[in-house]
């Protein structure tokens, strides 16, 4: 077994007693077109040895152990796998890793690099804008992209922008409230 994966140690992904921080692959992975791909994730450079056709979601979760992005549908319909690529919300389940290039990727683990909470994370907690939490990473990252371009969105603008993200627990109204709250917090931080 050949060990490979990160050139930079991973941060902030601990959790379950048995979770390993290093990914592995066996020679079986090396059939077909294999090549080393360099990715900029959360401000660090990672090299992964995968087929360019592999989904970015799989690379993040299974190779880099960044499991904040979730598999929900595999067809870009639910938004649970959303990450920011060059600041734009993208469905990592239908994004081939080979097309990302050197564009910076932000996952939920890297949204608040200092270790504190991003205003959106704070606001989601304050508004109880989650139940099972499985959609939360995707919701927060999509909202982060919205607030970049629209710092003070109306409820309607939020609902429209977030339409591609499903919360099966049905916390939509709380998510809207949280995003508006975060917008206020960001405004205060700017002034």
């Amino acid at each position: 077994m050949k060990s490979f994966g990160s050139v930079v140690p991973l941060r902030g992904t601990g959790g379950f007693p048995h979770s390993s921080r290093r990914s592995r692959a066996s020679p079986s992975d090396r059939c077909g077109m294999t090549r080393v791909i360099e990715l900029q994730v959360n401000g660090s450079t990672y090299r992964v040895d995968v087929d360019a056709e592999t989904s970015l979601l799989s690379v993040l979760r299974d190779h880099l152990d960044l499991t904040g992005a979730k598999y929900g549908c595999g067809e870009g319909q639910c938004g649970a796998c959303t990450v920011l690529i060059g600041g734009l919300p993208r469905r990592s389940c239908i994004t081939r890793v080979g097309v990302v290039g050197d564009k910076p990727i932000t996952t939920i683990e890297g949204l608040s690099p200092g270790g504190g909470l991003h205003p959106l994370q704070r606001a989601f907690l304050d508004a109880d804008a989650l139940q099972c939490g499985y959609c939360t990473s995707g919701m927060i990252l999509t909202a982060a992209a919205l607030l970049e371009t629209t710092p003070h969105p109306t409820e309607r603008e939020i609902a429209h922008f977030m339409e591609g993200n499903i919360c099966r627990c049905g916390t939509y109204l709380r998510i809207i409230a949280a995003i508006r709250q975060a917008a206020k917090m960001l405004k205060e931080a700017r002034s």
């Binding site: 902030g12 959790g15 379950f16 048995h18 979770s19 390993s20 592995r24 692959a25 066996s26 020679p27 079986s28 992975d29 059939c31 077909g32 799989s58 299974d62 152990d65 960044l66 499991t67 904040g68 992005a69 979730k70 598999y71 929900g72 549908c73 595999g74 067809e75 319909q77 639910c78 649970a80 939920i108 683990e109 608040s112 909470l117 994370q121 907690l125 109880d128 989650l130 139940q131 099972c132 939490g133 499985y134 959609c135 939360t136 927060i140 609902a159 429209h160 977030m162 339409e163 993200n165 499903i166 099966r168 627990c169 049905g170 916390t171 939509y172 109204l173 709380r174 998510i175 809207i176």
Partner: protein, 723 residues
């Protein structure tokens, strides 16, 4: 101990046939030595089920921890020498926030901060047996037991303080994790008191002592426990776990239910390095070092399947009525007869009969089934998201012919369930692959697999007939439910003559629990029909309901919802606007929902504009999380009310993916107002399920108000209104 006896403690929380499965042995796994080793020093309090305690008491030998551990422990609590409080319960967290509510319960009685309490949930090696997290029973059943244990621990701490200070215990009080002597104002922290102690006590799991009117932690908002881990992506669901040396599994699925494997050509897949192929009867799966390698290997398998002709969605409702079956116990037909139908019919002036249908729908939890399985020294460990960790342990023990103590199931907080994760398919499959590969295996179902190979909310046909007088008094009521279930089948209205029957049927699709079970279907039919009856005698739908209703708590929520909604003063300001009301009783909760819709018969568009739900579930434990559950139930209810339906044909699901199966999204959600009717004089009922039942009939009644057309099938507008 019979499971039926335990659930019947709360008559309205009776599990239905789809929930009550035959239980495994009720043995409590770790023996006393193991337990003390697990717990370490400090204080331990174990809750013993009431019936068992009574039996022991009458037998004359009071059994504490100095003897063998009681066989029927429902939960336990440990205060370690470091002051950390650890609570062990077999319940699991699936988004309903029971982890938070149970933490509050312990904090309340222990007089300690919720932050100092750690809940160990759903781990079959560490937590006592629990039938499962369903039926809204964590709050009415588990919470009081934990409170009683916390109470007993508090009393033990007071004893320890009295010993320490060499004074009488009377007068000493527990506050904020400390025992205080009000006379001398000296205090001692729990951690200090338990240092060096090895005390254990078994107590009967009976009613708690602190009345709701004196609650300090319960009854108040409490943020989600571990919430920070969820918003930072740090929480690990079963699908996020990794164990060293782990492989990734995939299962080969046939194209029809019940298909048999005729032949398998695995030569190409076998030639791939590092790939394990498993064939065991009709089960075929692969395991490989990466998900991509597993997918490639799966694609290289050539299989031929044989399946037989199966019913399709088109003839579903005829099929269900034609294929009724007789079952036993909860699975069986149920009859409910009151008075004389002949008399009731004779007294009536009007009669109305109608048939309602409900489609199969999918739970579609956002986290599809996933499991990690690892064999070590003949023992099997599985991490999976399930509502029944002990049920899944039994499944695994049975499949692999192991004693149950050789199987450990652990449930990380799970990405949604809604009644849809009672079974252990992914756990069994991962364990099969892992055993063959000789390595741990993770299996995550795809969305299509979750849609196809899990189970559905039962479809059903409901025939209803009502007879009434000119003054609006309903004199007779007949109600037949085919297949969808018996939950909330009884009418809460005071009708002197009733004939109500549930007819189990052979279901063409695999079916099981779903949030609120058949209460949604039965309320849809009943409350739609009550609305029709009201219009038949030209009465206001609310007035008509109240005329036929004595139950004070249900009347109160109807009135509360109507008041908040402005029911009495409602007036249509635009074409296509309509208002509806519906309500009922289920699982100890009383709910009423008012809805406003905007329906356009021309374009077929329908939109829920506003909803108000009033809910009484007894003494409120956590008002903010309760509101969250009520809002969520309404949102989930929108899907089943308007557009969710499983389409199937000849053993295949036709719309088993999100691009073909519409779930409620941001734009579907109306403004929602929640009215909590906090009854501190009543026991707390569970609240995750019941608030879903009012939405569909309230919306149907509002559509009728808007268009004059009565929609009698759920979903009501799968492709827009056809009015």
């Amino acid at each position: 101990m019979n499971t039926g006896a335990r659930v019947s403690v709360f008559p309205q929380a009776e599990p239905e046939r789809y929930e009550l499965t035959s239980s495994p042995t009720h043995r409590f796994q770790p023996d006393r030595r193991e337990f003390l080793k697990l717990a370490g020093g400090g204080i331990v309090v174990a809750c013993v089920l009431k019936e068992v305690w009574a039996a022991q008491e009458s037998g004359g030998s009071r059994r504490g921890f100095s003897e063998a551990l009681p066989q029927e422990v429902s939960a336990w609590l440990h205060i370690g020498e470091d002051g950390v409080v650890t609570v062990y319960t077999g319940k699991v967290e699936v988004g309903q926030n029971t982890r938070t509510a149970l933490t509050q319960a312990v904090a309340e009685e222990l007089r300690a901060s919720p932050d100092s309490i750690h809940m160990v949930m759903g781990d079959t090696d560490l937590t006592p047996f629990d039938m499962g997290t369903f039926g809204s029973r964590s709050t009415p059943v588990m919470s009081p037991q934990l409170r009683r244990a916390a109470c007993a621990a508090r009393e033990m701490l007071i004893d320890l303080a009295a010993d320490k200070w060499k004074i009488k215990r009377a007068g000493l009080v527990a506050i904020d994790g400390k025992i205080t002597d009000p006379l001398t104002r000296r205090t001692v922290a729990y951690a200090e008191l338990v240092k060096g102690q090895k005390l254990a006590k078994a107590i009967p799991a009976e009613d708690p002592l602190t009345p709701a009117s004196e609650w300090k932690v319960m009854g108040k908002p409490q943020p989600k426990v571990d919430g920070r881990d969820f918003v930072t992506g740090r929480h690990r669901y079963a699908s996020d776990l990794k164990v060293p040396g782990m492989l990734y599994g995939k299962v080969l699925r046939p194209n029809a239910f019940g298909a048999m494997l005729v032949s398998l050509d695995a030569r190409e897949a076998k030639a791939m390095p590092g790939v394990t192929i498993v064939q065991d009867g009709d089960f075929v799966g692969v395991a490989a070092a990466t998900p991509e390698a597993a997918t490639r290997a799966l694609a290289a398998l050539r299989a031929e399947w044989k399946s037989s002709a199966q019913p399709s969605g088109r003839e579903l409702f005829d099929d269900l009525k034609k294929n009724t079956v007789e079952g036993e116990g909860w699975e069986g037909r149920s009859d409910h007869d009151v008075g004389s139908m002949d008399k009731g019919r004779a007294e009536a002036k009007h009669q109305l009969q109608a048939t309602y249908t409900v489609a199969y729908i999918a739970h579609a939890p956002l986290e599809p089934r996933a499991a990690v399985a690892e064999w070590k020294d003949g023992k099997l460990a599985v991490w999976t998201g399930t509502q029944r960790p002990f049920g899944v342990r039994s499944e695994l023990a049975q499949v692999f012919r192991l004693p149950e103590d050789q199987v450990r199931v652990q449930v990380p907080d799970t990405g949604g369930a809604y009644g849809g994760k009672h079974t252990g398919e992914a756990a069994v499959e991962a364990a099969r692959l892992s055993r063959a590969a000789g390595r741990p295996v993770k299996l995550q179902w795809t969305r299509e697999e979750e849609f196809t190979w899990a189970y559905f909310r039962p479809a059903g046909v409901i025939d209803v007939a009502g007879w009434l007088r000119d003054d609006g008094a309903v004199t007779a009521w007949e109600f037949h439910n085919y297949n969808s279930g018996a939950s909330a089948i009884a009418t809460p209205y005071d009708i002197p003559n009733q004939h109500i029957q549930f007819h189990p049927a052979r279901s063409p699709l695999r079916q099981g629990s779903y949030r609120a079970l058949a209460a949604t279907a039965n309320h849809f039919a009943r409350e739609s029909h009550m609305d029709d009856l009201a219009h038949l005698v030209k009465m206001d739908p609310l007035e008509f309901r109240l005329k036929n209703l004595k139950d004070a708590r249900l009347r109160a929520v109807f009135e509360a919802a109507a008041q908040k909604f402005g029911w009495a003063a409602r007036s249509k300001s635009s074409k296509g606007q309509g208002f509806g009301i519906a309500g009922g009783i289920e699982k100890g909760g009383y709910v009423a929902t008012c809805a406003e819709v905007s329906a356009d018969a021309g374009t077929g568009s329908v939109r829920i504009v506003h909803a108000v739900t009033a809910f009484d579930c007894g003494a409120v434990v956590n008002p903010e999380q309760l509101r969250n559950q009520i809002e969520g139930a309404n949102v989930m209810g929108i899907g089943g009310a308007l557009f969710e339906a499983i389409e199937f044909e000849n053993g295949s699901i036709l719309n088993g993916r999100f691009s073909r199966y519409r779930l409620p999204r941001f734009s579907d959600v109306p403004s929602i107002e929640v009215m909590l009717v906090d009854r501190k004089d009543q026991v707390s009922a569970g609240a995750g399920e019941t608030p879903i039942v009012g939405l569909a009939p309230a919306v149907g009644n509002a559509i009728f108000d808007a268009t004059g057309v009565r929609l009698r099938s759920l979903p009501m507008a799968p492709k827009g209104l056809k009015v």
